[in-house]
């Protein structure tokens, strides 16, 4: 099985769905098999990709046994990646997912559909509820989304405590892949100052070097329900996600390779 990565944040509206969709699509176009799972009852991925054009069936239906793990994922017409929508159509559907998170069925369902992919991105709801906890329990890593705004940053501790708790109690191998700054406004002096303070205060390895700037093209892409690179004139906007994909691969490459001492150097054979 490949890597299962949760895209998460404490606050909403920081670009989780946009990142899951665009990063996933970039990796898919680079040759990896990618699955996006919309685990947000608000249906972010499903809306951002216009999945309902193809199907209303999703995670909820899988949890109810109405669809099999083999049939719940829908492949895009260019064959690049597959998507599992939330399937949420009513408030009762939301309760279904929350109940499944509570009794462990959500974890089992997700594990049942993740096989055969190089990357699985779980688009999480905002906050630290039961659904997020379940997603972190089955994930290899989490990408933490941040904006350089005080309310977003000040709400970090509660999410980090959840991370620590999940790692300690359920999933010792859960990795914090990195923190990704999104919706960056370069002409905002306050944001620049905030980012500078953060860079000087946190471990250097925490942040992805790539920063996702705010760009109206993302909104246009959402209207069109496509990854931004597919938008006319969207290539430059999509470039940060290409760089982010490379950075993710870079971290994977270095993880577990080499050591500090010369005697730790192992041969190829």
């Amino acid at each position: 099985m490949g890597r299962i990565l949760t895209v998460a944040s404490q606050k909403g509206g920081v670009g989780k769905t946009t990142t899951a969709l665009n990063l996933g699509y970039t990796l898919a176009r680079l040759g990896h098999s990618v699955l996006l799972v919309d685990a947000d009852p608000q249906g972010g991925i499903a809306i951002a990709s216009n999945l309902k054009k193809k199907t209303d069936v999703g995670l909820v239906n899988l949890l109810r046994g109405e669809v099999s793990a083999e049939d719940v994922a829908v492949t895009t017409k260019d064959g690049s990646m597959s998507i599992v929508g939330s399937g949420v159509m009513t408030p009762a559907d939301t309760v279904c997912i929350e109940d499944a998170a509570r009794d462990g069925q959500l974890q089992l369902a997700i594990q049942g559909i993740c096989g055969g992919y190089d990357y699985v991105f779980l688009d999480a709801p905002a906050g630290v509820g039961g659904i997020v906890t379940s997603l972190l329990t089955v994930s290899d890593g989490v990408i933490l989304m941040l904006r350089c705004r005080s309310l977003v940053l000040k709400s970090l501790p509660i999410f980090l405590k959840l991370l620590r708790e999940v790692r300690f109690q359920h999933n010792p191998a859960l990795q914090l892949e990195g923190a990704l700054v999104t919706m960056w406004q370069g002409d905002n002096e306050l944001e620049r100052q905030t980012l500078k303070e953060l860079a000087q205060s946190v471990p250097e390895a925490l942040f992805f070097r790539t920063v996702i700037p705010e760009d109206d093209n993302f909104e246009h892409a959402s209207i069109k329900a496509v990854p931004v690179i597919l938008l006319p004139g969207g290539r430059e906007t999509a470039r940060p996600y290409l760089e982010l994909a490379m950075e993710l691969k870079e971290r994977e490459l270095l993880r577990g390779i080499g050591g500090d001492a010369d005697e730790q150097t192992d041969g190829l054979f």
Partner: protein, 206 residues
């Protein structure tokens, strides 16, 4: 003008980040400025005191290593200079390793009152059992103080087999109740090393 990073929430977040990254090993990646993809002049250089030199940062494997119980003899602790000391978790581990090396102990753990390990060196049991064990022994310390009407019950020594013992020393960092657990041979007088290491641990936490 106060900075955002002066806020208690950000301070707490920084501490949690240090712990998380310390537990999983340094995050892999080539170092470089945050925002390298942004237009010239916008990229923010990372200036962290004690940060490693730029270049490839080797990282530990993601999965934790679970130690086996040592029941025969006492292993020699690795040299201190093999242990990184960039993050608080690393420095705490360094203290444990140095203590075990000096004292000839098998292993040691620093944990909080819930049993969450803050630093581990050759732990005799896995994390779940640490939590349970800490809870049991911490409770015993409370009850001993209560029943005996004593207020200094902070230390338990328990023989766990015919050769080894585990000692638990409760200490406080501010209002936070914490534990230092040490595994060593029954014949050893570990008290002095434990007390000295408590002082070092508190200074690192502070």
């Amino acid at each position: 003008m106060s900075k955002l990073t002066d806020s208690s929430e950000l301070q707490e977040a920084m501490s949690l980040f240090q712990d998380l990254l310390g537990e999983q090993g340094s995050a892999a990646g080539f170092s470089g400025p945050i925002g390298r993809n942004l237009e010239a002049g916008v990229a923010i250089p990372s200036v962290v005191s004690g940060s490693p030199d730029p270049g490839i940062m080797p990282s530990d494997p993601g999965r934790p290593v679970r130690s086996e119980v040592v029941t025969q003899g006492v292993p020699v602790a690795p040299a201190i200079d093999e242990i990184e000391g960039e993050f608080r978790g690393d420095r705490l581990e360094n203290v444990l390793i140095a203590m075990c090396r000096r004292g000839g102990f098998s292993g040691a753990v620093v944990s909080d009152t819930t049993g969450l390990p803050l630093a581990v060196f050759n732990s005799p049991v896995d994390n779940e059992r640490i939590a349970a064990f800490t809870s049991v022994l911490g409770g015993a310390l409370d009850k001993a103080g209560l029943f005996l009407e004593q207020h200094g019950a902070e230390y338990i020594s328990m023989d766990i087999n015919y050769e080894d013992k585990v000692v638990v020393r409760r200490f406080f960092f501010g209002d936070l109740e914490m534990y230092l657990m040490v595994l060593c041979a029954q014949s050893m007088d570990e008290r002095a090393e434990v007390e000295m290491s408590i002082e070092q641990i508190v200074s690192i936490l502070g």
